[in-house]
Amino acid sequence: MYKVVIGLEVHCELQTNSKVFSSSKNTYSSDPNSHVSAVDLGLPGVLPVTNEEAVKKALKSAMALNCKTPDEILFDRKNYFYPDLPKGFQITQVTKPMGKNGYLMINVDGTDKKVGIRQLHLEEDTASLDHYGSYSLIDYNRSGIPLIEIVTEPCMNSAEEALAFLEALRSVFLYCEVSEAKSDKGQMRCDVNISLMEENSTKMGTKVEIKNINSFGNVKEAIKYEIKRQTEILQSGGTVVQETRRYDDEDMKTYSMRNKVDAIDYKYYVEPNLVPVKLSNEYLEEIRKEIPPLQYERINKYMTDYGLSRYDATILVKEKAIAEYFEETIKEGADPKLSSNWITSVILGHLNKYELSITDIFVTPKMLTNLIKMVNDKVISSKQGKEVLYKALTEEKEPAVIVKESGMKQIVDDNVIEKFVLEVLDENPNVVLQYKNGKTNVIDFLVGQVMKKSRGQANPAMTMKMIKEQIEKR
């Protein structure tokens, strides 16, 4: 058996108004070459000017991933020749990346794992190329969009762990509001480094890099295929070649692109057109303050402080807005477990059905808390509560108003219930006799009669208890 060793390189486009070194618009547009500046085209005489928002968001991401931040902002030049790079070099970071030596916690099947982050750096995206029969077409809209690249340690050991890491990473970007992180728009892209080693060996196997996988699902498939391919090579006594491969999502296989001998020498050096800028502690702390509690932290809090299951906690933290809504109900005094139940069973169902965001709905955390209290205080039954919540969501009415208007109230007054119970027992002496003779299931009929008289408002549990007590007395 072989042990799988996986490292990831993830690219993520940052969400800013303008590009990282030019002032043209950072947007995903289907209209080609519509948001391009002279800087993006690398025209003679232009100079890059760093966008502060991109720097802040890169630093924020680095901090959220527990990375060490640099003492100054410094960029490097990576030289290579390709049509997607009009000026012949990419401005990136090698000497002093925005983040170093961090980690991200993931959870696979209930087991925690710390995934090491080697570095996070800020760079410019390239133009996009589309390839046709005998030519390629270049669209420069993407040229210069701020991009962060995250390089992990080779420390993941299965396709599931790699996928869990990507999901966790995406949630960090969404929680920190640094990127929309949509892989179908190419905002989040991933390269996979994968090697196999002997189960008990300490010697790492030969690594293969798989480039530009365009969806999380394909990352999983590419890893699975590569494990199978490399296992077959090793089992038949062959050796794995160190090379770069690409994943073809049509036949779900990887294909060789180039081997190590052809590796490009990028001739990195410090970017001379951008002067280094010192980062003060105050500046960094301002950025750090904006990082909200992240998914992993929230899941653990919900489980230990609120007694939720991992399953429910994971559902609630899927989106930051939902987690915040839930936490708001607790601040308002709702019982965490009940609040979690109502949100996951009714509200999330409503959001899915109408494709809404939780920030779109009429029912505020305070309204939900009041509704939960009404059920808890037995003002209305739990079944009625759900009806009210559905109504409140669809008709955009306050739950308290709905309860009042529909006369929906649960009778919990002993004296009132007793009156109904005595009436029903008096009217049905035969049924009472049947009960006394051991046919105890007739009690349902009696409860039903009380419900009828009270127009469904008598508390069922109390009614049942009281009928039993009264029959005993007869």
Partner: protein, 96 residues
């Protein structure tokens, strides 16, 4: 010492080639440069000096505000292209 083979390798990576005599000239020039570098290397305590990439460091630089401006028109973007198709620059197929 720098060899002729090494120079040829660099030239190939930079996608050009030269006459043999030109390589020889380049090689002799490189030897002078390397000797000068050696001399600098002999300066006392040089290994403790941080390499200087810029003459001064900026402490309170104002970076650029995140505002959209200075976009070119599509006509301007495509003005220098030899061939244009579907409002994009057309080049020979480059995928491997």
């Amino acid at each position: 010492m720098i060899s002729k083979e090494k120079l040829k390798d660099y030239a190939s990576k930079l996608m050009f080639d030269m006459e043999d005599s030109e390589y020889e000239t380049l090689q002799s020039e490189f030897e002078i440069i390397l000797k000068q570098m050696d001399l600098i290397g002999q300066i006392e305590g040089i290994s403790e000096v941080e390499p200087m990439t810029f003459p001064y460091v900026i402490y309170h630089a104002k970076l650029r505000d995140d505002v959209v401006k200075d976009e070119l028109t599509k006509e301007e973007v495509l003005y220098n292209a030899k061939q244009v198709k579907n409002e994009q620059v057309m080049v020979p197929k480059v995928v491997e």
